[in-house]
Every structure is written in C-alpha cells, then in structure tokens.
C-alpha cells in the first residue's frame, strides 16, 4: 500500500495559499469598498486610494475565478 503523502501535502499547501489568499484579498477589497461607500454617503469626495485598492483586489479575484474556470473546463487544456 502506497500513500501519496507528498501529493497530499502539495494539495494542502496550494489550497492554503489560494483559499486563504483569496479570502484576504477579497476582504481587503470589501473593506476599501465599504470606506468608499461611507465617503459617498457623507458627501465627501471618493478617496482615490480606496477605489484603486478595491479595483485591484476584485480584479485579482476575478482572475482567480477565470483560472478556476480554466482548470474545470477540460477543453481549455
């Protein structure tokens, strides 16, 4: 009987990087969006930095979704 421990370790590591990483990036994006929404509500000018951070974070998440689709759909590879 052969148990592929290194395979399991690899899966755990990759899952950790992507799973936790995406949660962090998305949370950063959501926080920036929330700050932006508060500024708009208070009739302050929308902070450029928040807009930029939110866009960047959500773009990264979108890229991850597209990569996920690439992995799921066998016609792509």
């Amino acid at each position: 009987m052969h148990i592929n421990w290194s395979g399991l370790g690899e899966v755990a590591l990759v899952s950790l990087i992507f799973g936790v990483g995406l949660a962090v990036v998305f949370a950063l994006g959501v926080t920036a969006m929330a700050r932006r929404a508060v500024a708009i509500d208070e009739k302050r000018p929308t902070p450029m930095l928040d807009t930029a951070v939110a866009s960047l974070c959500f773009a990264a998440c979108l890229a991850a979704v597209l990569y996920g689709l690439y992995l799921i759909i066998p016609q792509f590879h």
């Binding site: 399991l8 899966v11 936790v20 949660a23 962090v24 998305f26 949370a27 689709l69 992995l71």
Partner: protein, 378 residues
C-alpha cells in the same frame, strides 16, 4: 440496439443513482449561500442545476474502469454493478432522510465492493487501494478544508472588523455566489461523468458498444439531465443541516467556506489527490464556524456527520452485497431487487413527508421545540 432486460434495468438504476447524487450534493455548493441569504433557495438550486448540466456536457472524459482499481475490474459483472447501485441509492436516500451529507461516490464504491466481494470473493477487493483512495482522503479532506476555511474566516473578520457591516455583508454575499457557482460546475464535470461511465461500460460489456467507445450522446443527455433534475429538486434536509445545523453562518464565513472548498477541490483534482466534495465542503463549513468563535459549532451535529461517513462504505457494501447476490440469480432476482428497492425508496420518501423540509422552511433550524431544547442542552 437490442438490450437485455438486465441492461435496461441497470441503465435506469444508474440514472436514479445520478438523480440522488444530484439532490444529495446540492448542499455542498449552495447550503451556505442559502443560509446567508446570498441567494434565494429556489434561485440557488436552479443555478446549481444549470451549472451541473453545463458541467456534464463540458466534460465527458469518462473513467475507463468502474471502480478505478478498488476491486478487480475484470470480475465486475452487470449484476454486480446493479447491486452496487442499489446499495448506493438506498444509502443516499437514508442519509437524506436524516439530513446528513455523505459522499455519493463512497456509497457507490461501497456498494460495488460489497457486491464484488460476495460474487468473486475477498481476493477481488483491493483493500490497500481502499485505504489509499477512500479512507486517507476521507480523513484528510475535512481537515485540510477546515484549516483553510478557519484561517480565511479569521482573517476576513480581522480585516473587515472596522468597516461598515452592511457593506461588508453585501460584498461577501456577491463573492459567495461566484465561489458557489464554481463548486457546482466542478461537481457537474465530476459526478455526472461517473454515471456516464457506468452506463457506457455496461453497454460495452453487453456488446452494444465497441470496446473503448466514448459515451453516446443520449447517455450524456440522460446523465446530465438526471443530475440537474436531482439538484433542482434540492436536498433541503441536507441543505438545512449544512447551512444552519452545523453552525450559524454569516456571509464572511460563507464566503471563506466556499472559497476554501473551491480551492481544495480544484487543487486536489488537478494535483492528482482526489478528495470527496462532501467531506471538503462539510470541513470548510466547520472551519468557518470555528474561525469566528470556537463555541459556535454544534459538535453533536458534526459527530453525527462523521458517523455517517464512517458507515457509508460498510452500509452500502452490505446492501450492495445482498442485492448483487440476488440479482446474480437471473432476471427474476433482478426484478425482485428492483421492486424491493422501489418499495424501500418509496417508504423513505413517505416517511420524509411527515416532517417535510422545503425551500420555504430550509433556514429554520432546529425545526421543532424538542430539537431546540436538545440542542440547548449540549
């Protein structure tokens, strides 16, 4: 195409299994989105059904062997497959009735192992492969997914702690829809395939298709539609357990859980260490519960779930063994088992109607005062 009675019965049984697979697994992708209100219950199952159907058409690369080496595939006959399917269907129905998620693939493999064991002896079962491909992944899956979801949840709450709650919740709800959709699509590409593989291999064994044929179009259609119909029906009893029973889920937790599930499932299927969807998703939800506050997980529910996983293989194996044994005696035996299976399934369905769980009450947990005091006591 001249099909024997047995082959027709097995094809129908395979599609019924596919259908139970669908409604049993809706919870994996959609339970947390339904629980947090990211999607309305009916919309969630509809979306999941469509994505499962799409997944079925996208990937038709079916397995070359029925059991992927768990049993000696040269010893697997059509009555054995029939017995295995019956064992898996009954286990799926029983666990659905008690509202517990359990792996449909483990049930199928259990049924096949039992049926093969009785028909061809214990020598035909590769126990080493069973440990390697079922038991180790079953233990590893919830741990890996749980740790990822726990860390993700913890950090998501830390990062958003000072942001306006409503904006945060809305943001995570949108994210949940994306990750739940990916889980559904991945499910369709994996699980519908299994049924296609079984039907195709049965057709090859019976001489209706040439060796090494790909699944005919009607098989792809039938398998895709069966799993989508099952998904749309929604296993509300299981959805309630996973979305509400295990822990109270808020949208950041739902997002962290779904993201963890997606990451683990995609990593596992592409790095060659397949993990069961059910165990990954349950582990993620547990982890998400722990990531917010340790006390929030109902460990009795988690314990019952673990027990169901432990029994999946042996229980399906026993039913599979009996069904396969009787079916092996000829058409009369096959008909007898089919009738008994329909009666048992119908009985479980009727029992479920006494306290139905539907899209309307799926988010109410616990459902009865008695259950409420039982939960409060622990």
């Amino acid at each position: 195409m001249d099909l024997s009675f047995l082959v027709v019965v097995v094809i129908v049984t395979a599609l019924v299994f596919d259908f139970t697979n669908g409604f049993h697994d809706t919870a994996n992708a959609m339970a947390t989105s339904i629980a947090t209100g990211a999607l309305k219950p009916k919309v969630a199952v509809g979306l999941s059904a469509v994505l499962n159907l799409v997944g079925a058409f996208v990937s038709t690369e079916v397995a070359k062997t029925i059991s992927s080496g768990l049993v000696d595939d040269t010893k697997v006959t059509v009555p054995i497959i029939f017995g295995g399917l019956v064992g898996a269907i009954l286990w799926n129905l029983l666990t659905w009735y008690v509202g517990l998620p359990s792996s449909s693939s483990h049930a199928l493999f259990g049924g096949l192992i039992g049926a093969t064991w009785i028909a061809a002896g214990s020598g035909a079962v590769n126990f080493g492969t069973v440990v390697q491909k079922i038991i180790v992944p079953a233990v590893a899956a919830p741990i890996v997914a749980g740790v990822v979801a726990l860390l993700g949840t913890y950090l998501a709450y830390r990062i958003t702690a000072r942001a306006r709650k409503k904006s945060v919740d809305d943001g995570f709800r949108v994210g949940q829809i994306a990750s739940a959709s990916l889980v559904s699509l991945a499910h369709g590409t994996g699980d519908a395939q299994k049924t296609m593989g079984i039907i195709t291999l049965v057709l090859i064994t019976s001489g209706s298709l040439a060796q090494g044929s790909r699944p005919p179009l009607w098989v792809i259609f039938a398998a895709g539609l069966a799993i989508a119909a099952g998904t749309y029906l929604g296993g509300w009893r299981i959805i309630r357990t996973m979305g509400k029973g295990l822990t109270e889920i808020e949208s950041p937790q739902g997002f962290a859980a779904e993201t963890s599930s997606t990451a683990v499932l995609l990593a596992s299927s592409h790095l060659g260490f397949p993990l069961s969807t059910t165990q990954v998703c349950s582990g993620s939800i547990l982890g998400a519960g722990l990531g917010k506050r340790l006390a929030e997980v109902r460990w009795t529910v988690a314990g019952r779930m673990a027990l169901a996983w432990l029994f999946t293989l042996p229980a399906a194996a026993i039913v599979g063994a009996l069904a396969g044994r009787v079916a092996n005696s000829g058409n009369l035996g096959v008909a007898l088992i089919a009738v008994l299976a329909v009666l048992a399934g119908g009985g479980i369905y009727l029992a479920s109607r006494r306290k139905p769980v539907t899209s309307a009450n799926v988010n109410e947990y616990p459902s009865t005062p008695a259950a409420a005091s039982a939960t409060a006591a622990v």
